[in-house]
Subunit: 142 residues, 4 copies
């Protein structure tokens, strides 16, 4: 299944509908979309650092949630007001103090529910630092 | 099981060890600790708003994660460097654009793992807007 | 919110629609229903035992899933063909080789989704051995 | 990372330590093990059927849990008494009344915790019917 929105369209949609995510600096970027998939990047920001030279859990959760949302939107289109119903995270490894990349793969894209998994990596790294699965509820389309 | 740290001690610990959570304004407050429980409050902040007059999912996730951490710390003491291994969220209701309160109850406080559940409410509200369960890994204590 | 089915009606529904759960012996019993809640009991059965004098994880998961289903059915009525979309379990303590009791509390009973949490205890025990949260999708009702 | 137990050794271990899983018929089979992975098969059994020509959720959960356990055991060896601490399931599609196959990939194999994801398919099918993630606690080894 092919996406129906481009990276540029998705970025414009975020800027218009979710300007608050850029509060304190533009750090979230849509990197790529593909069949049932999307990739985002989050730049390193000092507010996400934590003791021991790592990044906060919520920084990874925020990026994973956003990447799942973007993956769904890319396939459903900009009109849908999808809402998260469930998110589950496993934290596997402390990320370094660098940017993060998140790869989302949609496992299901139903009429009412979409389910996906997200793997979060340190920029340039190959090991998953956080793994997420989540469900979005998709409103009725008429 | 009684907590071994007070609200004031927990707040000082956060200020000293996690100053980054106050980036952009001091919005997180420890409200109460009790036997296997803790309560935190998050002030309303414009950066958490989302379309439709609600708050972001990550705002609720961040508060829930922090409240679970504080509940564990209150019972284990300030030396432990506990790390989240797992968090699972159900989003039940869109919160209003107000402050949030989170109540954590520890379900297990073992030697290696602590597990708790967190109910997040809108300030002054009685309905759970987000429910979380999570596990922290507790390092070996000698 | 009051349930609209009684314990006897729920048991008859299970017998009629889900006779397979009684395969190998009738061990699941609806104990009580109340406002947004339900309780079930699972008798001890040798097939659920595991090394170290405990019960299997799947025995607890099956009971928790069934109790959540019964809690929803009790409030939605026998016509609905609800399906589980998500279940998340924390295993807190090894249960003894005894019967299990599960208490479900519905956190949300929406038009399309119902969410609940379940605490599983050993019969006669007071400590939670397994904690579950789950979501059922409720089909359109006309 | 290579497994240190073979399929035959894993099957013998299950027969010896977990004879109860074969209660009512031998339906679980270790199919393959590989680097950080394992595959199991569950034969179709009438006790798992559910209304609408499908299989029960607990049948899928039991298989997923067992496959994760086998994947860990294959890499850690038969002495370890690993216990599940957390399991999270997304049910994506009703399985047909056929056998099921489960593919597990370990995301982390630490000293104390192992985390994996499991995709469950209908035998001969290519779509994931159930997706699971789980954590096992590994006892201290001396």
């Amino acid at each position: 299944m092919q996406p129906i929105m481009t990276v540029a369209e998705l970025e414009r949609f975020l800027d218009r509908e979710f300007p608050q995510i850029h509060h304190g600096g533009r750090i979230y970027h849509v990197e790529a979309v593909g069949p049932l998939s999307a990739r985002m990047r989050m730049d390193y920001h000092e507010r996400h650092t934590r003791p021991g030279g790592t990044l906060s859990g919520p920084a990874m959760m925020t990026l994973a949630d956003l990447t799942l949302y973007i993956a769904i939107l890319a396939h459903v289109g900009p009109v849908a007001l999808a809402v998260t119903t469930n998110l589950s995270f496993n934290f596997l490894k402390k990320p370094e103090q660098r940017g993060l990349v998140a790869d989302c793969r949609l496992l299901k894209l139903g009429r009412r529910l979409a389910v996906g998994e997200v793997a979060v990596f340190s920029e340039g790294g190959s090991e998953v630092v956080c793994h997420a699965t989540g469900t979005y509820s998709i409103p009725d389309r008429r």
